[in-house]
């Protein structure tokens, strides 16, 4: 596992929009003075005439994206998750969501793995905010392969899509021939009869490691990758609830309103089972190296293993 290639999903985002722009002249990229960080700078270099820096003005950027989409363009409005989903929330809701415009929001630097910049830039509330907007698709890809597949799928979907990417270089593990991405369809990565770990984004890798560890101790923990938080694959989640009778959710996001909440909401309607939520526990982040912060917040395989064992006691 230590030989695994690592790529930050923000890098995947910058690369794939540039690649797809060759075939799709409607793709326009907007950024808010963060092109070097969000990696839209890759696009800017290749297609300067289709890149517009809106300056440090995310509210206007979202409105401009809405206007472009209303004229048939496919704008990718890019910023950090904190500003794309947080600061610009109401513009996303009223100018993009309500009119159902074909805007793709590329939100990078999500979660505590942003690292040293600290709490003001570590957005752990964006999934909660975005999934309450009617008609908004919310995708949180797990690695480079999935991030690129998500962007490709988002372009084919006519409507608003929020895509969440990370700052930290993380393992690429979906590089196999069977891999298939479909919006709204979860992926079963491990079968297991004792408990099911449902993870999203960067936590899918940690869930896989946890499952392998648990196996050594005789615990069969299934792993489901929920890359699309909305629309949620309720069928797959309810089947897992039925099969294992207990679920653990893992996300680099607040335990309020994110994957854990969405899963809990789903199972209360079909097969009520205990849902143990691993995430950021209603608190702010702080400065430090991203990888270490993930461990501090329990967003790591070790904590998943511990929580699973405790739950099964």
């Amino acid at each position: 596992m230590s030989d695994t290639v690592k790529i930050a999903t923000r890098e995947s985002y910058g690369n794939i929009i540039t690649e797809l722009a060759a075939e799709n002249p409607d793709i326009i990229v907007l950024d808010a003075d963060l092109a070097a960080a969000t990696k839209t700078g890759i696009f800017k270099k290749a297609y300067p005439e289709r890149f517009f820096d809106c300056g440090i003005a995310e509210a206007n950027m979202m409105g401009v994206a809405a206007g472009l989409a209303a004229c048939g363009k496919i704008p990718f409005a890019s910023s950090f998750a904190m500003f794309a989903a947080g600061r610009a929330y109401e513009i996303v809701r009223n100018s993009i969501g309500y009119p159902g415009l074909n805007v793709k929001i590329g939100a990078t630097h999500a979660g505590v793995s942003v690292g040293e910049d600290g709490a003001t830039h570590q957005c752990c509330e964006d999934i909660a905010l975005m999934r309450t907007i009617p008609g908004m698709t919310v995708i949180n890809p797990a690695d480079d392969i999935e991030a690129k597949a998500a962007v490709k799928a988002a372009i084919k979907l006519n409507g608003p899509v929020y895509m969440r990417f990370g700052r930290l270089a993380t393992p690429v593990f979906n590089n196999n021939e069977d891999y298939k991405f479909e919006i709204g369809k979860g992926i079963t990565l491990r079968d297991g009869g004792d408990i099911t770990i449902i993870a999203t984004g960067l936590m899918v890798w940690e869930a896989l490691k946890a499952s392998d560890e648990l196996k050594k101790e005789g615990i069969n923990a299934g792993v489901i990758n929920i890359h699309t938080i909305k629309p949620l694959d309720k069928e797959l989640i309810c089947k897992a609830a039925e099969k294992t009778g207990m679920l653990v959710t893992v996300e680099e996001h607040s335990v309020i309103g994110g994957l854990g909440s969405a899963v809990a909401e789903a199972v209360t309607e079909c097969r009520p089972v205990p849902v143990i939520k691993i995430g950021v526990n209603d608190e702010y982040g702080y400065s430090g190296p991203g990888a270490e912060l993930l461990k501090k917040f329990g967003l790591c395989s070790e904590n998943i293993v511990e929580k699973v064992k405790k739950a099964l006691k």
Partner: protein, 279 residues
Amino acid sequence: MDSEKKKLLQINACKIRKGIIEGTYNAKSGHPGGSLSIAELMAYLYFEKMNIDPENPEDADRDRFVLSKGHCAPALYAALALRGYFPENELKSLRHIGSPLQGHPCINIKGVDMSSGSLGQGISAACGMALAGKIDNKTYKVYTVLGDGEIEEGQVWEAAMFAAHNKLDNLVAVVDNNGLQIDGKITEVCSPEPITDKFEAFGWHVITMDAHDFDDIERAFNEADTVKGMPVAIIQKSIKGKDVSFMENQVSWHGSAPNKEQYEQAMSELEEQLKKLEG
């Protein structure tokens, strides 16, 4: 302006005013004051200026209109109905359950180019539309109307910066300067003045205009057409509640509907004006 043309526009402005009163009376709510102050502007845009066709409302080359001060939807709906986008009797369904005529403009309504109403947002969408026109080398123009209270929103100035930076000379933003907002006079609430200087400082070509004089409206829009390389702001000096005697310059008519008696009086005043115009 040619006197026949002017008379037709005055008739249409009066009919738009009747539509505003009809709509807000039947809705028992809404915003007549600021709707009445833009009646001439709506008549001029929809019957003279804009390249639009109710038979082909999605034409990619059409001029676009975004009512950034979306609460004045009654004026937009009245203009659209009069122009033939939908039957005029639909105006009575304003704000009713099941009616397409939402309290604030909705993109699903025939002829409405953008949902709006949360103040400060329409101008950004208008910037995006103007930018799309530039990218595609199209010749259409984008018109947006803001309230003078609305420009207190910070997003308006983000958009103003963006439009000037991108040289959006296909964008015309009209500020309806009637001087009143919900809580009182704009100069007493949190003054956005000096409006002209602000837009100039942001790199816009600024024109002031009498909102209720078609000769002056034509002059202003003709000047706007000559501007190259920068967006145009037209600051229209207007009277809130214009042409309904008891509503003029009264802040209380910003967001309240006439009762039956007030409705009848307003309609009779407008009818009388219309009779004179149609002579």
